[in-house]
Symmetry: C2
């Protein structure tokens, strides 16, 4: 019986959009690109593809209330609460274990909750192809055709075409490439064989559990224990201590890089962005005639260009003679960053952690 | 009988240090350069020169309480309250009229309340010379020897030496020069004949009243009426309607530019600054090793240089790769300005006035 599920990963904290993203205000809960949060948009774009009962949300207990309030159609039992975040391998494993109790042949679409997708129809079209490929037992990844030599994304190289009657060409994957330098990024852009790793994966429950068993036996052991207690009276009391034994790992490193039978579905025209830094907003949001991106700000501009001005509370900001800046105000904190250098925000985070400035994290 | 008074002008609003200076928070009430306000420092630097009973403060009623709280030694009756600000000509005229009732030959030292003076001893030394010259009936102005080709100050050209036994050379003044362009500023710096107009004036009460009578007869008429009611039961009820007839004018334009018997006392080594713009703070405050001026801010800096970072409430500010900026945060408003362009802040003020954004003024 063909059953398709979406598994939305919504447990992360996220520091790369500091000072807006905080421990208590993770990126997927920010109304970063409009009136809606990235999480809401992630759920919303599945309409017409899956009924709400087929959407699982993996998160932590402290985010449950707010996430549920943004996705009221999803049944409470579909929110899988991690006792603590253990990385995306744990998220995937937990969801797969829960689904396996019901239907090991079900297909699960693993979706980050904090990405931007400008064209949901193109996304669903690629997802449908991926589901068809996954039913044949492949671990499928959506690859985004690169549009510029990004050094901020990981890449996947395609191998030969996969035989089969799919709605669009599908490839085997040759290998995963970590974030490259600019020279390598340009090569990969030019050779036409490389795709951005979207972090969107589609597979059958039994396929992924088999790979976890082979490559991450410690995690698999944890998952077996969880299957024994999930839905029983013991779940609440035992889950935390079992979960603590799960290795902290991403699904990319833990499974995908050395997995067998990986397929790559090129996902064209998605207008996809992982919103992984303040600089990325220049690719997603529309600038005014001076190239300025202004959000939630009463803005006065004189000879000022190509600047992002963002506040989380209504604020008056006056700019005189400034260019190529990123300015983010959250009341208690202010980020001033040269455009192109927003990856360095992690240095601020390190400083905050060292300096007993926990309230700003 | 030789009597010397100080008249501190503390009624202005001031917009040039927006967003920190506001209608309700004028520049002289800001702790801009340290823990004390500029007004407090202005009073404080007169210690040993004049007793508090000889210090008059001209201001408006709404500032009376806070000014008094910062200068408790000055008697209440020494605060002269303008019903509304009418420019420095009005301030001077009002103080002169009040002093004339008591002693027309008294010398008054007119002092702005919002300037920086790094060396109070040099200031008092110049002031003593000015008092001696003023006793001979001159209108005396303190001229600051320029140290760089400033386009932000007015200048005064000296004429021939004034004969007399003064503690230092004193000149007649040839003419007042408005804020020059850079070429002209450099010429004046080089010729050694020009001094910055400090806005500090010293004269006998009868000398200035005579010049006001000659050059500003409308104002003089108002002052005569005020002398008739000052200190009587009618003062409170009649002063506002009389005061409204005083022309709005500065003492520079209204009197000094065409006055007779003007003397110029060069005031060297004062380390004087009118704190007339955010850029001026770079001349007054001490920068860190990266050239950054940081006040009231928990500051993280990465590859950031020559930037002023100022907040009026404790705030965390992180700077990455920025240079030559002026950043001023007041909670409700934020100024971002290229260094060297802070004169343009007046454009923000114009915009605020046009746009019904009175709360930010």
């Amino acid at each position: 019986m063909k059953e398709v599920y979406a598994v939305i990963m919504a447990g992360g904290g996220g520091t790369r959009l500091w000072p807006l993203s905080r421990r208590t205000q993770p990126k997927h809960l920010l109304p970063l690109l409009g009136a809606e949060t990235l999480f809401y948009s992630t759920v919303d774009r599945l309409r017409g593809f899956l009924p709400p009962e087929r959407i699982l949300v993996v998160t932590t207990a402290d985010q449950f209330d707010i996430l549920r309030s943004q996705a009221l159609s999803i049944p409470d039992k579909n929110f899988l609460l991690e006792p603590e975040p253990r990385g995306t391998a744990g998220v995937v494993g937990l969801a797969a274990s829960v689904l396996a109790q019901h239907n090991p042949q079900a297909v699960m679409c693993v979706l980050p909750s904090d990405h931007y997708i400008g064209n949901p129809e193109a996304f669903l079209s690629a997802l449908r192809t991926a589901v068809a490929v996954a039913e044949d037992g492949y671990l499928v990844t959506l690859g985004i055709p690169p549009t510029f030599p990004s050094t901020g994304y990981g890449y996947i190289q395609r191998a030969e075409l996969l035989p089969g009657a799919f709605p669009q060409p599908v490839y085997r994957a040759r290998r995963f490439v970590e974030k490259p330098d600019e020279v390598r990024a340009r090569q990969m852009l030019d050779d036409g064989e490389h795709f951005w790793n979207s972090g969107i994966f589609v597979w059958r429950v039994d396929s992924i559990l088999q790979e976890i068993k082979r490559q991450m036996p410690e995690l698999y052991q944890v998952l077996e224990q969880i299957q024994g207690i999930w839905g029983t009276a013991e779940q609440t009391s035992i889950l935390p201590e079992v979960w603590r034994l799960a290795p902290i790992q991403t699904i990319d490193y833990g499974v995908m890089e050395h997995a067998e039978r990986i397929a790559l579905v090129p996902a064209s025209g998605l207008d996809w962005n992982d919103v992984g830094s303040w600089d990325s907003l220049f690719l997603v949001l529309e600038a005014d005639e001076q190239g300025n991106l202004v959000r939630n700000v009463e803005f006065f501009s004189l000879d000022s260009y190509r600047t992002l001005v963002y506040a989380n509370e209504r604020k008056l900001i006056a700019a005189i003679g400034i260019e190529d800046l990123i300015v983010v105000d959250t009341g208690d904190a202010l980020l001033l960053c040269r455009r192109g250098q927003s990856q360095q925000v992690r240095k601020v985070i390190e400083w905050l952690k060292q300096g007993e400035r926990q309230e700003y994290l």
